[in-house]
């Protein structure tokens, strides 16, 4: 069957099987940042934005994405670049496998709530599992980024 989607700003028409998953579709089209972790809707590694809303691409049919806009980390480099350095500065991650999903969901969080409390950050990112770290480093990284942004704005 044929679907029309906008993938990272680029309109495309593609042929998919009725049970093609969105994760396989975006990876097939070069978005290799989107990773398969659990494939049981538990780990958040496969997070993409569908019409700006974070969803698990391992659990959405490509057919349902027909008519919608999909964004992956490949299309959000600039927005991500702002804060990933702060996470790296903390040495927050070890293997880094969880990072793309983590960054995608942090982008969604900060769009929805630009000034979150620590509890709000933890609640929003609860569906992003990291097997190496204890999450504290990532939290510190995001907090430092938010503090830096406030300071930059306050002159």
């Amino acid at each position: 069957m044929e679907i029309k989607v906008t993938l990272n700003g680029k309109k495309m028409v593609a042929s998919v099987e009725p049970d093609t998953l969105l994760i396989d579709f975006v990876r097939h089209h070069g978005c290799l940042s989107v990773k398969r972790g659990c494939e049981t809707a538990n780990c958040g590694l496969c997070t993409v934005l569908m019409d700006g809303v974070p969803v698990l691409s391992c659990s959405v049919l490509a057919a349902r994405a027909n008519g919608h806009s999909i964004q992956t980390l490949e299309g959000l480099q600039e927005e991500a670049n702002e804060f990933i350095g702060f996470i790296a500065d903390q040495g927050a991650e070890q293997c880094g496998f969880c990072n793309p999903g983590y960054v995608m969901n942090t982008i969604a969080l900060l769009r929805e709530n630009p000034d979150p409390t620590d509890d709000e950050i933890k609640a929003y990112l609860a569906g992003n599992l990291c097997r190496c770290s204890g999450y504290e480093g990532q939290l510190r990284g995001i907090r430092n980024y938010l503090n830096w942004k406030k300071e930059a704005h306050n002159g």
Binding site: D19, A41, N42, V55, S59, V60, L61, R64, A108
Partner: protein, 263 residues
Amino acid sequence: MLKIANYVRAKSLEEAYTLAQKRTNVILGGMLWLKMQNRSVQTAIDLCDLGLDKIEEQDDCFSIGAMVSLRALEMHPGLNALTQGAMAEAVKHIVGVQFRNLATLGGSLYGRFGFSDVLTLFQVLDAEVELYHHGIMKINDFAQLPRTTRDLLVRVIVPKRSMRVCYLSQRNTATDFPVVACAVSETDGKYLCAVGARPGAAVVFTDEQGLLCGGITQESAEAFGKEIANRASFGSNTRASAAYRKQVCAVLVRRCLMQIKEG
């Protein structure tokens, strides 16, 4: 692995219902539960073009479409004002934001899952469910329908009335299924208490013995909690034993009542 031979976006409820009568066809909600299954589906029936993803506030009720996401329930100001935040509390521990953006109210209720936080809360809201073929019925009657019923959940109706509600659950670890889930509501002095994740599906109790007739006190809340824990049946599974669930249930019911009292 879920295999799907055909995918159809239904153009009408009638089309979706008719297609759903065939045993090898299946209605798609958020697909999160379906996807965990190992099955071959002839036709997957997608309801996403039927405008069922809206929460409408009417004079006397909230009408919630079957395709409304759990995240939309969590964030809805009207539903959270009505339930004093119990709506958000009931769903916010379910996996993660990205998951709740996909999981639907229709799929969550139609599955009538034993572990369901959603079914547990809606049972104490005096909610009604509209099925395309069976029509409108109380959620408790819906919960009893045979699992073989092939109908289409269209919307859920939550009456707007002055009530006090509290929802609490216990999990072994964050984002896991609940070990016990508990919802209590009070409307005009009438109490409803639902206990879910027993691990069987949620069951509802009233204050048969009138333990709360004199209002909520530490003592009456404790007595009611113990009574509910005695009346509910519990089972054991990998998450918890029946005995542990019973103990936790008594505590959660008491805490729900005390939170209702304290507002």
